[in-house]
């Protein structure tokens, strides 16, 4: 399982990359591996608002449907339409091309609540 040091994580298996005032969000390597082949993705509209810990979209494998939970609250400034058209990218490159949405100006408080790579890895171990 790959867990890049420079990212933040949630217990719902999303990752967050802070790029200036924007937070890029996707699902972790562990999440894509547990799901299996992702075959369908639903993401919010650009310009919509997402709320921390609430579902913002859906990923589906052949076997199951899983909700995506927002790691932070804020306005969605960009949506990765490429993963909607070719969901397998999420399996192939979860931390790169498989990103899902970009959230504008997340609050410091929300950011502080995210897990570090070490904390996330530990959480996954305990969950097993």
């Amino acid at each position: 399982m790959s867990t890049p040091e420079d990212l933040k994580y949630t217990k719902e298996h999303e990752w967050v990359r802070l790029e200036g005032d924007t937070a890029v969000v996707g699902i972790t390597d562990h999440a894509q591996d547990s799901l299996g082949d992702v075959v369908y993705v639903e993401l919010p509209e650009e310009g919509s608002d997402v709320t921390k810990d609430e579902a913002f979209g859906v990923v589906e494998s052949v076997k199951a449907v899983s909700d995506l939970y927002a790691p932070l609250s804020g306005n969605v400034v960009e949506v990765n339409e490429a993963v909607v058209d070719a969901p397998e990218v999420i399996n192939e490159d979860p931390y790169g091309e498989g990103w899902m949405i970009k959230i504008e100006s997340p609050s410091e408080e929300d950011i502080a609540a995210l897990l570090s790579a070490d904390e996330y890895e530990q959480y996954v171990e305990e969950e097993k």
């Binding site: 299996g36 082949d37 075959v39 369908y40 639903e42 859906v58 589906e60 494998s61 052949v62 076997k63 449907v65 909607v84």
Partner: protein, 368 residues
Amino acid sequence: MTLKRTSLYETHRALGASLVPFAGWEMPVQYSGLMEEHLRVRSSCGVFDVSHMGEIEISGPDAMKAVQYFGTNDITKTRDNQCQYTLLCYPTGGVVDDCIVYRYSKERFMICVNASNTDKVFKWFNEVDLSEVAPDVTIEDVSDKYSQIALQGPASIRVLKKLTDIDPKSIWGFYFTETRLLGKKVLVSRTGYTGEDGFEIYSAPEDSAAIWDAIMEAGESEDILPIGLGARNTLRLEMGYPLYGHELSKDITPIEAGLARFVSLNKEKFIGHETIKAQAENGVEKRLTGFVFHGPGVPRDDYEVRVKGVAAGHVTSGTLSPCMRRGLGLAYLPPSACKAGTEISVIIRGRAFKAKTVKTPFYQKQVQ
């Protein structure tokens, strides 16, 4: 309730399978990944543990009469060593189980039934009054005496050829033979649940792990993979094959399920005959149909189906087809909506996804 384990449980563990509860058994749902496993069976071959399936033996001078009375199909049309798909029905016409009958002789049959229904079918066979129809029979649940391994896919025949003295080509489709594999006694039938050429191998439970390993080794040059129940389900669904508990139940008749070709209304009396005959003559209120999505989306069990915007039924089985990369499924709908090409919609998370009804099988085998 503790889950039962097949004689291949340790083999699955060693292969790193994800094991899940299924019909009272702890079974492998996938090994390397559902999609890869599914595609490998279509392109080459795969091996499945289906030891959870039940086996019931009917024997004695009246065995044939009993089978003829229990099942909707006409067993007198088979020869020794032939298999036949049939449905076991209640007097209401509802389905007890769908199964494959193995005819050793007119006096001995083995019936392979669904794991979830083994106890129920055995009980049912014993409840039915056979005193008039077939008094001299013995009915035995022999499930514990067998493990069952399915070898499926176009390369199966080459893999099996390496392991037996008999030429697998000599086993015709829906026939079986008793032979030896690694010196162990086995029953090999040319049957399956994938739509591909393939075999099902019944052995004593203590021999199954060695047989599995031998198949994996013989199949190495064909890139054989172990296949879990996940891909077993998507493979059967691409063919439009029914699964008990989804397309079949005590509230559904073979006619409604589109299985009239396995019902022989002209043979002597069988259980459920009256209702089924009436339905065949007068029509039904719902029928099983296949449907495919026009665009992206994955239909799943129990999703609502609408015709002209009005609720008309539910998805009984749905998936994204690994071969066709499209959402497809089966549903019971009013017969008027079952005509191929009818526009319908499937409701997913409150949204209507457009689909059209189609004839099954969904998947057409590629000409090689």
